[in-house]
């Protein structure tokens, strides 16, 4: 049986209410992924359909799809920017999204076009409250 990560929401990440996270790298770049809650709701991920590097993505819009056996789910961009890298390793091991959603299960790296968008994102405590609500 696949071992899933324990429920966790690291304090060093920013969260979007559609269950996505962003990890800032310097002032202009960020790594995106889906939260523990998102992967747990979806179930075992069997396919990740990434965007193309160079693609422009918009905050609050879908930029990729993750699929479990039974369902497909849009992945929502927590911030706007241009894709500079996608996690190629997920093509052969999409289950990393379940096992390590904040580490090896990262989805894309993005050059941010509006770094100020962080103002609209949630801290870990706020995100946990949203889940408890």
């Amino acid at each position: 049986m696949t071992k899933l990560a324990e429920a966790s929401y690291p304090d060093d990440l920013l969260y979007h209410d559609q269950h996505d996270w962003a990890r800032l790298e310097g002032d202009e770049h960020a790594v995106f992924g889906i939260t523990w809650y998102a992967q747990d709701s979806l179930g075992e991920v069997v396919f990740y359909d990434p965007p193309e590097p160079g693609a422009t993505i918009d905050k609050d819009s879908s930029y990729a799809e993750v699929e479990s056996v039974k369902a497909v789910s849009d992945v929502i961009a927590p911030m706007s920017g241009e894709i500079v890298e996608v996690n190629e390793a997920l093509a052969d091991a999409p289950e990393k999204i379940n096992e390590d959603p904040y580490g090896e299960g990262w989805l894309v790296k993005v050059k941010l076009s509006a770094p100020k968008e962080t103002d609209a994102l949630l801290g870990a405590d706020e995100y946990r409250k949203l889940l408890d609500a």
């Binding site: 049986m1 696949t2 179930g43 075992e44 069997v46 396919f47 359909d49 799809e65 699929e67 479990s68 056996v69 039974k70 497909v72 093509a91």
Partner: protein, 336 residues
Amino acid sequence: MPVTYEGVREEHTAVRTHAGMFDVSHMGEVEVEGPGALAFLQRVLSNDVGTIALGGAQYSCLCAEDGGVLDDLFAYRLGGDRYLIVTNCANHDADLAWLGRWSRGFDVSVRDVADRYAMLAVQGPHARAIVTATLAIELPPRMRVAHARVGGRPALVCGTGYTGEDGVELLIDPEIAPAIWAELLDAGVVPCGLGARDTLRLEACFHLHGNDLSPERNPIEAGLGWCCKEATGFVGADAVAEARAAGTAERLAPFKIEGVGIPRQGNPVLAGGEPAGVVTSGSFSPSLELGIGMAYVRSDLAEPGTEVEIDVRGKHRAARIASKPLYESPASRKEK
């Protein structure tokens, strides 16, 4: 019945390699009894009910006058002139009304007995051995039904299933069903949900009414001509005979995605860039580790090996029409 207990893939694999159980008590049961039972069932069911031996089971379509498939179901012969048919939950009430209407003029009683039975499907290569040992009952061979006592109550044990694996379906008293479930759980049978039920049946290319079968499709285009015996004069036989003779514009065909992508119900099928059909069931196949499905496609495309494309939310995924079943268990391969 939940979509899953511990994960669709784990449950699917348990049925393919060990034993899983499904609480399918939502299925409906209708008892047909009386001197006119055989004549009546010949009139409403597409298969030749006259060939069911005592204790036998048979798959059939329930067709409308125009040949459209109202439901697909198993009929079990419990006694000389006593039959049980197992309906799909969503169609149960409509089936009952339909059967009631056509029973006029036949010396037969048609009774809704859905409340009398809970139904547990125990499936997988080890299912029979575990059920035999746990419930201390003798099991009928495949496609047979036997009377038994389970939990001290009368029960029916059917050598049927919906997974492509060996196993049984237990029709038992609802009062003792939770205890039987617990006993089988203790014996190592893995509880399975709707998700695994769907992936297992799709790999085996068993139809799901509402997806692959509907009143808008006849059995011939659905690939169920084998269970239609028009000579019996069943309701819809003329339309089915006509479809069989003339051929149909589309046919239901299983397919596999060639690369990445998971097809889903409603995805368009394309051939040479042109619309050529629609996916009626689609999923990731845990056994094959790729996208699989069934689709109604233009009949000239329905041959195994034909290359098509599936439009999965705007992305054209290469696919190839395959032969049935999409996955065959080693046990059933050995039997042939």
